[in-house]
């Protein structure tokens, strides 16, 4: 069997090698692009620096002679007399700056005399002049101070009462590694994707377009063999592109084309580069698998590129985590796909290599590669992908089609809400918040219902049923009990591996704070309680339950709900809240308890926890958990009484549509 894979691989390679343009586009171009781009950038930068070095600045100085004298020895400054309207002259670019000093530097009262530098940041020359004058004036202040000190009988200068000598022990390799580590990991991830995209489009979508894929699948070998052969070729090509690009980048650094000119980057450590090459191998497997699988879903080259582009642009974002040294390679981050290799390459270039962690990165990447490859192999053995037709229209009126339509509607709702809501809130915060909750979100929900709905009574889909009073009481108890565990438990736990930046939540509350409590309560508690519930627990939970299991509906609708909160730090808590609320709807068969829960929870966060009125203590913990459990019991018993203990929900007429 391996011999057959061999001949498949040889066939693919021969085809690629014969395609000169693809080789130029995917291998040669990227390698040339870096040197060209970076040399151009650095030469432009150097030129404009030189220009600044030669610039002569026109400066007017008025006031105390000490200041004028202190500036007199500045080179490349042309001192001009003050024009009639100095501010206008500066704005017009006839004068770079005006140093306005008081007539005497003798202090009057508490305030020190003020020397002003008038300038204009929109004019490059004025900005450069201001920088130089700042420095010169600071030196002048020191000199005036020393002169007074010496006049009063002091000795020497005050400035060197203590001298701070800094000794940088970083070796050349380490400095170069730190400099390269900012950019190389990210660029490496990007070039891997570009290389894999070029080859995988040709090898699957291209074959489909040329009509040769069907010919190939007539051959008497298992389809997995063909899939595997194609994967190996894309993998290999990706490794080659990655390595060549790495070499090109290393060369750029060594020859000084890339990186900070003041840092000697000619000494990138070979060990770090070697490690990068080693890590390219498993990462290339992940990347090749993703690109190959997506490309297999397309019917022709054009479609493939269209599908690959957004995925590619979004997938390289994790690589940016390595652009600083703050995010460490840890047993947790070593498991993240793509980001782990970027972080490891950064550390390798720095010369910090921990073998166990590197091993973990390698193993994790191999694992991800394996998972992705299996997915790819599955796609490549489906008959619809081989023949290039879709066996079923994307949004057919079948369970699968409805599911896809619902998922698309959910994604579109999240995106559109982010977009339109953001726009409205930028315009006017409070009104925008109100409009996005009361107008935008309901409209999106209604559109989703129209697009993905499959009939059935609206009240059934949205769970608009009168709840039992017990259920309402239970929801209130749950809402009151969940705050402490969520804030002091989940958020804190999350903080240990995903620390929040400081003042993350602060600014939002600050801006809303002026609104007054009743309005705040309406906007932050009542409106989300009604509108967000109607859309996420009403429309999406309702639609998703009709096309899949209750469990997946709860999970997916909660994920959508968490995503509209638009922050990686708020995802976990809002996801958990979503689960609780979806659970309430499923158990009580009514959306009203979850609306009540949402409103009460938001209000309690705003009035109690947000104000810092509650501190974590055994008492608050115990009380919260007790209240929460009481809520759970109440909601359960309300469910039991309405005869729906199991929570599996099947409105009449929809049962037959569910996949067996």
């Amino acid at each position: 069997m391996s011999a057959r894979i061999g001949s498949f691989v040889r066939k693919e390679i021969r085809e690629i090698v014969r395609d000169r343009r693809a080789i130029i586009l995917s291998f040669v171009m990227p390698i040339l692009v870096y040197p060209v781009m970076f040399s151009l950038m650095s030469s432009t930068e150097r030129k404009s620096e030189e220009k600044v070095q030669q610039e002569v600045h026109r400066v007017a100085v008025t006031g105390a002679p000490e200041v004028r004298d202190a500036l007199a020895d500045l080179e490349r400054v042309e001192f001009v007399s003050l024009p009639a309207d100095p501010k206008k002259a500066i704005a017009d670019g006839d004068l770079e700056a005006w140093v306005e000093a008081p007539d005497t530097l003798v202090r009057e009262g508490d305030e020190a005399p003020v020397v002003r530098i008038w300038h204009h940041v929109s004019h490059d020359k004025s900005r450069n002049a201001e920088e130089r004058l700042q420095e010169a004036l600071a030196r002048a202040a020191e000199r005036v101070k020393d002169a007074r000190y010496q006049a009063a009988g002091g000795h020497g200068s005050l400035g060197d009462l203590v001298t701070l000598v800094t000794v940088d022990v970083a070796t050349k390799e380490e400095t170069a590694g730190a400099e390269a580590g900012r950019l190389v990991p990210y660029l490496l991830v990007m070039t891997l994707f570009i290389g894999a995209a070029a080859v995988s489009t040709d090898i699957v979508a291209g074959e489909k377009e040329r009509g040769t894929l069907e010919t190939l699948y007539l051959v008497p070998v298992p389809r997995e063999v063909i899939a595997r052969a194609k994967f190996f070729v894309v993998w290999g090509a990706t490794i080659i592109t990655g390595t060549l690009n790495l070499a090109s980048m290393a060369w750029c650094y060594r020859s000084g084309l890339m990186g900070d000119a003041s840092v000697d980057v000619s000494a990138l450590s070979p060990a770090g580069l070697g490690l990068a090459v080693l890590l390219i191998v498993p990462l290339a497997a992940v990347v090749a698998g993703i690109m190959l699988g997506l490309s297999a879903l397309a019917r022709n080259v054009k479609e493939a590129q269209l599908q690959l582009m957004p995925v590619m642009l979004l997938a390289i974002i994790p690589g940016m985590l390595a652009s600083g040294q703050a995010v460490k390679l840890s047993p947790v981050t070593a498991l993240w796909p793509i980001a782990n290799v970027a972080l490891a390459v950064r550390d390798g270039l720095l010369g910090q290599m921990s073998l166990p962690l590197l091993g973990l990165v390698f193993v994790a990447s191999v694992g991800w590669g394996f998972l992705v490859t299996r997915w790819t192999a599955g796609i490549l053995s489906r008959e619809d992908t081989i023949l290039g037709f879709s066996p079923e229209p994307l949004f057919a009126h079948t369970t699968g089609g409805r599911r896809r339509a619902t998922m698309l509607a959910l994604a579109a709702t999240v995106l559109a809400f982010f977009y339109v809501g953001g726009l409205l809130q930028t315009w006017k915060l409070l009104l925008g918040l109100g409009l996005s909750l009361w107008v935008v979100l309901p409209l999106l929900g209604a559109a989703s219902l129209r697009f993905a709905g499959s009939g059935g009574r609206l009240a059934d889909v949205l769970s608009l049923r009168a709840p039992r009073p017990l259920a309402l009481l239970g929801a209130v108890l749950l809402a009151l009990g969940v705050g402490v565990p969520l804030f002091f438990g989940v958020m804190k736990l999350q903080g240990t591996f995903l620390p929040m930046p400081e003042n993350f939540m602060g600014d939002f509350g600050g801006e809303l704070g002026d609104a007054g409590k009743p309005l705040m309560l309406f906007l932050i508690a009542i409106s989300p309680g009604i509108c967000e519930e109607l859309v996420f627990r009403g429309v999406f939970l309702g639609l998703l339950r009709r096309v899949g299991t209750v469990r997946s509906a709860v999970l997916i609708s909660s994920a959508g709900f968490a995503l509209i909160h638009l922050s990686v730090f708020r995802f976990a808590p809002t996801f958990l809240l979503g689960l609780v609320m979806a659970g309430i709807v499923v158990r009580t068969r009514s959306i009203f308890p979850s609306m009540l829960f949402h409103a009460v929870y938001n209000a309690s966060v705003m009035l109690v926890i947000g104000e810092g009125l509650l501190e974590p203590s055994p008492l608050t913990w115990g009380g919260s958990v007790a209240v929460f459990l009481a809520g759970v019991l109440l909601v359960r018993s309300a469910a039991a009484r309405s005869g729906e203990g199991g929570g599996r929900f099947s409105p009449t007429g929809e049962e037959s549509r569910r996949a067996p």
Partner: protein, 248 residues
């Protein structure tokens, strides 16, 4: 004579835009023997291509079974593919590979190696008169030459069963003639040829027996003479029309 292909109630269903089921093939049955050219006649969209793709195991049937050279298409697709040569308008050639490389790779894919591979490739190159063009890339070949390479590609492993799906569509007279001569030579070699077409002259010239397929099911089958007798029509076109009814 041994039976090479036996098709029993084969069916294939796709889903339409509204989720409705579209029965492309709806319970087709027929059988072909060795040394026989069996014609599958039908209009465009009658289900011929889907049937043949199921027999070549590129598609899996929704219902029914078929044996090709004694192998079940559902349970042993690989053995099926080993014993067939498949050619259709949509089985393309790799433009950037040369004629010889194409034959060589497909020989290898079928498990031929060493001397057996060499002699198989040489035999095909010679039989189809493409030896002169062996080093030319397929994209540079004329339509006729391409067709010859494509036929060669399908038979390089000397399969006992040939499945040809409208092999002459889009070809010029000479290339089409090459194809038809090839079918005749196959019959002479005792191979079983399953051949789909909607060109009646080809049917007259080649087919020992035919099945007329319409809207996914076989409407009539037998030798041409039998069908003439049954319908009372003289010309094949008339026979065909009588079998499928007046479809416009």
């Amino acid at each position: 004579m041994t039976e090479r292909i036996r098709v029993q109630d084969l069916a294939k269903t796709f889903l339409g835009a509204k989720g409705e089921e579209i029965r492309a093939v709806n319970g087709v049955s027929f059988a072909c023997r060795e040394g026989e050219v069996f014609g599958l006649l039908g209009l465009n969209g009658a289900g011929k291509t889907t049937t043949l793709r199921m027999l070549s195991t590129v598609l899996t049937p929704t219902a029914g079974t078929a044996l090709v050279n004694g192998h079940d298409i559902a349970s042993d697709p690989q053995a099926v593919r080993e014993s067939i040569g498949f050619l259709s308008g949509t089985t393309g050639l790799y433009p950037r590979l040369t004629a010889e490389e194409t034959l060589r790779f497909f020989g290898e894919f079928h498990g031929l190696e060493g001397d057996r591979l060499n002699s198989a490739v040489e035999r095909v190159l010679e039989t189809f008169g493409i030896a002169k063009y062996r080093t030319q890339r397929c994209e540079k070949l004329s339509t006729g030459m391409k067709q010859k390479v494509n036929i060669g590609r399908a038979v390089v492993h000397d399969p006992p069963v040939l499945i040809l799906d409208e092999p002459t569509s889009g070809l010029d007279v000479l290339a089409a003639a090459t194809t038809l001569e090839f079918v005749e030579s196959c019959r002479a070699e005792g191979k079983c040829v399953l051949f789909s077409t909607h060109i009646m002259s080809e049917v007259e010239r080649l087919c020992d027996r035919v099945a007329i397929i319409h809207e996914g099911s076989v409407r009539a089958s037998g030798t041409m003479a039998e069908l003439r007798e049954r319908t009372g029509q003289k010309y094949p076109e008339e026979v065909f029309r009588a079998v499928v009814g007046n479809v416009e």
